[in-house]
């Protein structure tokens, strides 16, 4: 499955789980100045995003509509 869609579904699943352990530890690591963020790694390339939208349109058009609405409102 497309990387963007996989990540999106992962995040959705995580939100349903009681807590995201990694996110909580990351907040602590960032506060302690220990979290490394590589600025040379792009989050997604254009092709991955384009294919992801296509896949998501087939899988869950309602989610895509909500995402686009969020973008249009700047959320």
């Amino acid at each position: 499955m497309n990387a963007w869609v996989t990540d999106l579904l992962d995040v959705t699943v995580d939100a349903d789980v009681a807590e995201d352990r990694q996110a909580r530890a990351n907040a602590k690591a960032a506060a302690l100045g220990m979290l490394v963020v590589y600025d040379d790694i792009p989050e997604y390339d254009e092709e991955t995003l384009r294919q992801g939208e296509e896949e998501l349109r087939k899988l869950a058009p309602e989610i895509l509509r909500i995402l686009n609405e969020d973008r249009s409102t700047g959320l």
Partner: protein, 148 residues
């Protein structure tokens, strides 16, 4: 659980012809464990991927390198940490190397894990060390890490 993932385990996940590769991929995908590694990992695993490709063991190294980068970026499955005081890591690694005879990078990983992971763990939460190097894993265990 919160665990430090050594480069040996991450490299194993990418080298699918090696024993334990599927187990390594399962561990990386396990979202119940918060996973961290050091900055050296990106370099070490990149080198392992390129060497494997040159030996004909990996058909598409560019894709593997892209996957590795995605794994280590924010929101990926393993986050990268560095200790605020690099000299502390170096001093701890030196002590570990002199006591246990570990190789430099193996000692640096254990040193970083022993400094950083307890600070990120919740009170009473088990801390783990994931490695495919038996000697390194034993040293980590002697420092209070569960082998994962």
């Amino acid at each position: 659980m919160i665990a430090y993932v050594d480069s040996s385990l991450i490299a194993r996940a990418y080298l699918e012809d090696e024993a334990g590769s599927a187990d390594a991929r399962r561990l990386i995908a396990d979202r119940s464990i918060a996973k961290y590694t050091g900055r050296w990992t990106r370099i070490e695993v990149s080198g392992a991927i390129v060497r494997a490709a040159r030996a004909g063991r990996l058909p598409d190294p560019a894709r593997s390198l892209k996957r590795l980068d995605a794994e280590l970026r924010p929101g990926g499955r393993i986050d990268v940490i560095a200790a605020p005081d690099e000299f502390e890591v170096e001093a701890r690694a030196l002590a570990i190397a002199r006591e246990h005879g570990l190789r430099a990078l193996d000692a640096l990983h254990v040193a970083l894990a022993s400094i950083a992971i307890p600070k990120l763990a919740d009170k009473g939460e088990p801390i783990g060390f994931a490695s495919r190097d038996g000697v390194q894993a034993t040293v980590a265990e002697s420092l209070g890490f569960a082998s994962v």
